[in-house]
C-alpha cells in the first residue's frame, strides 16, 4: 500500500462550517484542497437524489426515536464516535460514553462527527459578540483579552453573515455595549428578521419596561429579535451577491449585486427550504434545510479543485523535526463503521488545517506528540455556555408554545455591564418550545395527567390548558477560561480504531456560580413581571447540579464547545496567532471554536465562521508567498 497519496495545496480535517468555509474560499481562489471527513460517505452526497435520500434517512430516524436529543437522527459510528448528551451522568468519573468524564462536573455538551458537522443539529442563533467581550481582562479583570478587537473582526462578521445567510433586524440589536454602531451605517442582514413568536409578543407586552434589581444594581429589561441562520425573506436593501478573493489587495470582499439576495435552499433542491416553514425542530434537524448547514457551503465549493475523502479519520499530525513544518497527516480509513479494520495512509499538502471541532482538534494534536503545544495550552481552557433554565406557566393566558424556531427573541440586558467584574454575563433567549428541554414535555404532561386518573375530554382539556401556557427562559452563562478545564488523552481510553477518546476534567468556578444566583434573582423578577408562575425545580440528583451559598442550581450544556487551542498575541500563553496559524508550525492552522480565547455571550458559530474567513485569507496570502 502506498503511504503517499496526493499533493494538495491545503489539507483540511473536518467538513463542519469552519472546514467548509475554507474549502469553498480556497478552491474558488484557485487552490487545490483535500478534505478529510471522519463520517460516512452517504452524508456527503451533493447530487440531488442521493442528498435527498440521505437526509430523509436522518428524518426517518428522528421520527422513530423516542428521545429527540441533539445527535439522535445521525449515525453513531464506533469508528468515529461522537459525544452524546444522553450519556451524561450525575456522578463522575465515568467512561461509559465516548467522552471519558473525570469530573468533578461532567462536560455537558455534544457535537457531531458527520459531513456538515454540528451545523446539522445546531439551532442557528447567530448574534455577534460585543466589543467588551474582546477585552474581558483589561475591562473587568477576568479571563483574558483577545489579541484582536471587535473592529478588526467586523468585516469578517459581514462575510460570515453572507455565507450563513442571516435573517435579522440590525436596528433591533440594542442593549448594553450593543447598538447600530456595532454594525456600521446602513448595514443590513441578507434577509429580514424571522418573525418573533406570538409567545414573545406576550412576554414583551407583560415585561417589556420592567425594572430589575440584581446584586445591588438596577437594570431596565430589554428584548431583541434574534438574528438567525435560517431563511426568511430577502432584504431588498442588502447589496451583496457573492464573496470574491481580491488577489491584489489580498482580502475577501463582498461583491455588490444588481439582483436581490439569492436565498440558499436545501442541498437537494433550491426550491426546498427557501423559507422557514415552522417545523419547530431546528434542533436536532430542519426537515427542509431552511436552517443553514455547512453542506450548503461545501456544495458550492469549486469541486474541480476539491477532493473529499469520507470515512477517513485523521489520527496523527506528522512534523518534520528539522524544519518544524507539518509533513503529513496520518489517516485511518474504514469501510464499515462497525468494523475496526482500517487502512492507514499519509496525506500531504503545503498547508494543513485542523477544523474538526474543539474536542477533536485538541485530541488530535495531543495524540501527535508535542505538536503545536509549546505553550502547554492545547486542550486547556475548555469552555461552554452554562445554561441555567427557568420555567413556569403563564398565569392567565395561553401563548401556544411549541411553534416556530427555537428562539426568536432574546434578552440582551445582562450581556455586558460593570457586574462582569463580579460574576459572569449571560444572554437570555426566550424559548419557543415549552418545557421540552428540562422536563421532556409534553409527553410528561400527558403521563402525569393519566397518572392522576385523567382521560377523555378531561385529559384533552388538561393538555390544551397547560401545554400552551408553558414558558422557558435560558440563562446562557459565560464560562471563563480555566487551565484545569481541559481535554487530555490517556492510552487506556481509545475508540474502535485505536484513536484516543477525549478525557475531560471540568468544573464550574465561583464567578459562574455567582452568576447562577444572580440569574435566578433576575428570573424571579422577570417571570413575575411576565405573569408567569415559576415551576423551576433543580434537584441535587440532576447531572450538573452545583451550589452557591447554600442554594442549588442545575445547568445544561449549550453545545458551544470552545477554547482548546486559543489564539493570543504571545506564543508562551496561546496556541495560535490571530490568523489561527500555529505559533510552532508555520504550515499548520487550527480553526474553529477552539481558537476562541473567551466565549462571551454569543452562540459562537458566527464568530468562529468570521475567524475562518480570517484564516482563509491568511492561508491564501501564505500560499502565494514564502511561509513564515
Amino acid at each position: 500500500m502506498s503511504n503517499r497519496l496526493h499533493e494538495f495545496d491545503v489539507v483540511i480535517v473536518g467538513s463542519g462550517i469552519a472546514g467548509a468555509v475554507l474549502a469553498r474560499t480556497l478552491t474558488q481562489a484557485g487552490k487545490s484542497v483535500l478534505m478529510l471527513e471522519a463520517g460516512l460517505q452517504s452524508g456527503m452526497a451533493f447530487d440531488p437524489e442521493a442528498a435527498y435520500a440521505n437526509y430523509q434517512s436522518y428524518l426517518q430516524t428522528f421520527y422513530e426515536k423516542a428521545n429527540k436529543a441533539t445527535n439522535g437522527p445521525y449515525p453513531d459510528l464506533p469508528d468515529a464516535p461522537s459525544p452524546d448528551v444522553l450519556e451524561i451522568k450525575p456522578s463522575t468519573p465515568y467512561d461509559t460514553g465516548y467522552l471519558v468524564q473525570m469530573g468533578p462536573q461532567p462536560f455537558a455538551s455534544d457535537c457531531l462527527r458527520a459531513p456538515g458537522g454540528t451545523t446539522l443539529h445546531w439551532l442557528g442563533n447567530v448574534p455577534r459578540m460585543l466589543p467588551n467581550d474582546f477585552r474581558l481582562k483589561s475591562r473587568y479583570g477576568h479571563g483574558v483579552d483577545w489579541p484582536i478587537d471587535y473592529e478588526t473582526l467586523q468585516p469578517y462578521y459581514e462575510l460570515a453573515e453572507f455565507e450563513i445567510g442571516v435573517s435579522g433586524d440590525v436596528a433591533a440589536q440594542v442593549g448594553p455595549d450593543m447598538g447600530p454602531q456595532n454594525y456600521g451605517t446602513g448595514y443590513v442582514f441578507p434577509m429580514r428578521q424571522i418573525p418573533q413568536s406570538y409567545q414573545d409578543q406576550v412576554w414583551m407586552r407583560n415585561a417589556g419596561p420592567a425594572q430589575l434589581e440584581v446584586e445591588g444594581r438596577s437594570y431596565t429589561l430589554g428584548f431583541a429579535s434574534m438574528p438567525q441562520g435560517r431563511n426568511s425573506e430577502p432584504n431588498p436593501d442588502y447589496p451583496y451577491g457573492a464573496i470574491h478573493w481580491n488577489a491584489g489587495l489580498r482580502r475577501f470582499e463582498l461583491a455588490p449585486s444588481k439582483h436581490i439576495y439569492r436565498v440558499v435552499g436545501s442541498v437537494w433542491s433550491p426550491y426546498t427550504g427557501e423559507r422557514c416553514e415552522g417545523n419547530a425542530a431546528c434542533v436536532p434537524m430542519c426537515p427542509v434545510q431552511a436552517k443553514y448547514n455547512a453542506l450548503k457551503t461545501l456544495s458550492r465549493a469549486d469541486h474541480d479543485r476539491l477532493t473529499i475523502r469520507t470515512q477517513s479519520v485523521a489520527s496523527r499530525v506528522l512534523v518534520d523535526a528539522a524544519t518544524q513544518e507539518v509533513s503529513g497527516i496520518e489517516v485511518k480509513t474504514y469501510r464499515n463503521p462497525d468494523d475496526p479494520s482500517h487502512g492507514l495512509h499519509v496525506v500531504t499538502g503545503r498547508i494543513y488545517v485542523l477544523a474538526a471541532g474543539a474536542l477533536e482538534n485538541a485530541k488530535l494534536l495531543l495524540a501527535s506528540g508535542k505538536v503545536a503545544n509549546s505553550s502547554d495550552q492545547v486542550g486547556r481552557n475548555l469552555m461552554d455556555h452554562l445554561v441555567m433554565l427557568t420555567w413556569g406557566l403563564f398565569d392567565d393566558e395561553k401563548v401556544y408554545s411549541y411553534r416556530g424556531p427555537g428562539c426568536t427573541t432574546y434578552i440582551p440586558t445582562f450581556r455586558d455591564g460593570e457586574f462582569r467584574s463580579e460574576f459572569s454575563a449571560w444572554i437570555s433567549p426566550l424559548d419557543n418550545w415549552g418545557w421540552s428541554w428540562p422536563t421532556f414535555a409534553p409527553g410528561t404532561d400527558v403521563s402525569d395527567a393519566i397518572g392522576q386518573g385523567l382521560f377523555g375530554r378531561d385529559l384533552r382539556h388538561r393538555i390544551g390548558d397547560v401545554v400552551p401556557r408553558q414558558a422557558l427562559l435560558h440563562f446562557e452563562v459565560e464560562q471563563l477560561p480555566q487551565a484545569s478545564n481541559r481535554v487530555t488523552i490517556d492510552p487506556r481510553y481509545v475508540d474502535a480504531l485505536g484513536n484516543p477518546r477525549p478525557v475531560i476534567h471540568y468544573d464550574v468556578s465561583d464567578y459562574e456560580r455567582k452568576a447562577f444566583a444572580a440569574a435566578k434573582c433576575a428570573s424571579d423578577q422577570i417571570l413575575c413581571k411576565a405573569r408567569i408562575t415559576d415551576h423551576t425545580l433543580y434537584k441535587p440528583t440532576d447531572a450538573n447540579h452545583v451550589t452557591w451559598k447554600g442554594r442549588g442550581y442545575t445547568f445544561w450544556g449549550a453545545g458551544h464547545i470552545v477554547g482548546t487551542h486559543r489564539m493570543g498575541s504571545d506564543a508562551r500563553t496561546s496556541v495560535v496567532k490571530p490568523t489561527q496559524q500555529s505559533w510552532d508550525h508555520p504550515n499548520l492552522y487550527l480553526v474553529g471554536c477552539g481558537s476562541m480565547p473567551t466565549v462571551g455571550t454569543s452562540n459562537p458559530t458566527l464568530t468562529m465562521t468570521a475567524l475562518s474567513f480570517m484564516a482563509a485569507q491568511d492561508i491564501l496570502c501564505k500560499l502565494d508567498a514564502p511561509l513564515r
Binding site: Y63, P195, Q201, N279, A280, K398, F455, P468
Partner: protein, 149 residues
Amino acid sequence: MDHDLALFLDLSAHLTGFDVVELQGTGMAETYLNAAAMGIPKEWRAFLDRAAMVLREGGGDAARTHALIARELFPKALFGGLAQNITFMWYSGQWAPTVDASGADLATVTNISAQAYVQGLMWTAAHAHPPGAKQPGFASWAQLPVSVR
C-alpha cells in the same frame, strides 16, 4: 369494520377525548390495536370483553360511560394498565412499557413507528404540531394557531 377494531376505536374515543373520526384520521387505529394486543397479550381479551360491557352499560351516555371506565377499566392495577397505556399511545405514539422500561437505552428506544410520532394527539390537544412534521408555514408562529382563531 372488524369487530375488535370498531370496539377499540369506540373505547379509544372515550379514553382520548378525540372522536372516532379524528382517531381514524390519524391512520393509526390498526397499528395501535395490534400494539395493545401484543403489548399485554394475557390481559387483552378480557380487557376487550370488559370494554364491550362497559360501553354497552354506558348506553351512549357520556358521563355514565366515563364513570364506568374510570371504575372498571382505567385504574393502572386493572388489566396490566392497558387503558392507561392505550391512552398514552394515542397521545404520544409510544408504548410506555417499552420506552419507560428500566434499562431502556434512551439513545435507541423507539416510538411505535415514525408515523406514530407524527400522529401523536398531544400536539393537536396543545394546538401545536409534532416538531419536524405537519409544519404550519412561515410566520404562522407569530399568530394564534389556526385551531383557536
